[in-house]
């Protein structure tokens, strides 16, 4: 592990120099760390007041019945019990979210990787295409794009007209339980720009001698992709996968707007966060919504841990081969 070994030696050197520091008067050290805290303070205050505080409050609220107006009433585990055993819509939202993640994440990563491969070769106008493909990711989370999406797939929308040319009449896709989630998935996949840029960076790191060696051995483009490119970018793939799965589980805006704020007809696109929002802000059940949020946090944490565990089997870090 040359890189890691080097990093370690740098660290050791730093430690060694730090070990010599006691020669300085201890007071000066304290002053220095004091300055560090002063510079850190905006972040620390922000983290305490805007992240840790609300999180603890929401943890407390998840054990209460709270309607925003009356004081929260302690109910113990009843919110969780109700969620797991009595709420059909909760399980429906879990199922919709899992479906959404299972379909949208692989598709999005495949598209991102495919386009990244195309853009990796030096061609005229590459810079233009890169920004053009990245643009949707910048706009993606915005309500306006979701509105455009709704009208594209809605009744008398462009998609309906286009399919009409081939004699297929589906009507409004966003207003049918069978298709509503698919349009939300399509919107998510369309925003492939961020993973694409990361894939591009990863592709640039693949040493060209590997390709030359593979070409000499008579490997065709497909073989080169599966034997050289793919293994070499697995760290980037893992990074993208973790990021996108987390994002998929927290996805909200697209489904909210496309599903007219209700999660699509007959709850067909009712993502987890959307249901959480409805419970909290439409039904004023802040305790229940907090409980849902904490379950989501725990589930995302578990999935992330599992992904990292599994990565030992399939992620290849450059330098490992020399071990």
């Amino acid at each position: 592990m040359p890189t890691i070994a080097r990093a370690r030696s740098v660290g050791e050197r730093a430690e060694a120099s730090a070990a010599k520091v006691p020669a300085q008067p201890p007071q000066r050290r304290r002053q220095r760390s004091g300055a560090a805290y002063v510079f850190l303070s905006p972040w620390l205050i922000g983290a305490a007041l805007l992240t840790v505080g609300p999180m603890l409050a929401s943890l407390y609220l998840s054990f209460t019945d709270y309607n925003l107006f009356d004081t929260p009433r302690w109910v113990g585990l009843r919110n969780f019990e109700r969620m797991f055993t009595q709420d059909d819509r909760y399980w429906n939202s879990v199922w919709v979210t899992v479906k959404f993640a299972l379909i949208s994440v692989p598709l999005k990563l495949a598209v991102a990787l495919g386009i990244a491969l195309l853009l990796n070769k030096p061609r005229r106008g590459t810079a233009f295409y890169r920004s053009a493909f990245y643009a949707p990711s910048l706009l993606g989370a915005s309500v306006s794009v979701a509105l455009v999406w709704r009208s594209l797939f809605g009744s008398n929308g462009a998609v309906d007209h286009f399919l009409g040319i081939f004699g297929i009449h589906v009507g409004s896709l966003v207003d049918q339980p069978r298709y509503a989630l698919l349009t939300v998935i399509a919107l998510a996949v369309w925003q492939f720009g961020a993973p694409m840029v990361i894939f591009l960076a990863g592709l640039k790191q693949v040493p060209s001698e590997l390709y030359e060696a593979a070409a000499l051995d008579g490997a065709g483009p497909a073989r080169r992709f599966f034997s050289v490119t793919l293994p070499m970018i697995t760290p980037v793939l893992l990074f993208n996968l973790v990021l996108e799965i987390i994002q998929a589980f927290q996805s909200f805006t697209g489904a909210f707007v496309i599903g007219s704020g209700r999660g699509g007809p007959s709850d067909s696109a009712l993502l987890y966060t959307l249901y959480l929002y409805q419970r909290g802000f439409n039904n004023f059940e802040m305790g229940y919504a907090s409980a849902m949020a904490w379950v989501l946090l725990v589930v995302i944490a578990i999935i992330t841990v599992l992904l990292f565990r599994s990565s030992r089997k399939w992620v290849f870090y450059a330098g490992e081969g020399t071990r």
Partner: protein, 421 residues
Amino acid sequence: MLVVAAFTLAGTLTACSSSSDDVSSDSKQTIRFVWWGNEDRAAATKKVVAMFEKEHPNIKVQTEFSGYPAYVQKLTTQIAGGAAPDLLQLDRPTFGEYQQKRQLADLTPYVGKSLKTEKIPASLLAGGKADGKQYAMPAGLTTELFVYDKDIFAKAGVSIPEDGWTWKQFAADMTKVHTKTGQAGTTDFGWAIDWFESWLHQNGKQLYTSDRKLGFTEGDLEQYWSMLASMRKQKAVTAAEDTTKMDGSAQNSALVAKQSSSEIAYDSSVTSYVSTYQGKLGYAPLPSDSKTESGMAALPPVYYGVAKTSSHKDAAALLLDFILNDPEAGKALGATRGTPPNSDVAKTVCSSAASADKEVCDFQAKVSDKLSPSDTWLWPSGSSAIKSDFQRIYDDVIFGKSSVSAGAAKVVENAKQSLGQ
């Protein structure tokens, strides 16, 4: 003229009578006034606020407005956080919600003093009453109506019976419109609990009882939705995918999208129908099997309330009075919140009204003796959850995921839970 005189007289009276009244003192104060709605309502309201500020130089009014969903969410959070605005716009679910969570100021002490109500019909005032006290003021008058395309109905040979449709005739005629023109007779109206409420009133029942319990049974809803199911089978009403997007706005209306030939609506939306619909529109009362109960209400489309925590209640009441009773303010507001609640102001506005406003005035004049007072139409806390639940379960029914009877049972079960029954 009389109103102006009364207003100035009352104004001077309050000005010299009470020294404790902080409005009459020179101290400057700022009040916040929030509402939801589209641009034309906002422009009209801001104009009125400017007129008010000119008349009361010591009161400054900060205004905020947004779309409905954002409004409710923001307002609820603000109230919960102790930062409620002074004067706020409410609708039936939010009025019930805030009144029962004790967030609205009792306006009764102001009534007849700085807040004049003598020209506002009692039937309308009743909608803002709860527990015998006035917690909100009606911002206008609206009622239910049936909007239809005159040309399509003429082509289909369907005309509205002199004494109104019975539901049976109505269903037959809507089917006829479909068979003659190929377009659905009317927009499926099973999604909105509002229209179900009218139907219940026609049958001597109500949505919510006066003690805030559910006023209907599973059987009632099953009967109502079954009537729609048979119309759906005949294609007399719109298809499921056209029905599911309904939200009461003209933008998503199936009638405006030419997917249906008519629609049940509130007359406060006539102005937006007229500006968006391509074709000639006619207006009729709702069908009813009863000769005496039209099921139509003299409802305020929205209310105004004053927050309980407001420290400028007197100033807020003054502004409220100005909005409701000042003839110039009424003229500026027009029918942006239904026809004006003050009958004198309404008369002036209606007499000079043009196009859509005039249609609303004429329609209301025609049906005025058929309208029921709004106190029987009060929605309790929990009703906004019930309203969205009602539409969601109706989607299950029209998309065939649930039977009519199972859906009706689910609505009743969930509603009882929302009402804490």
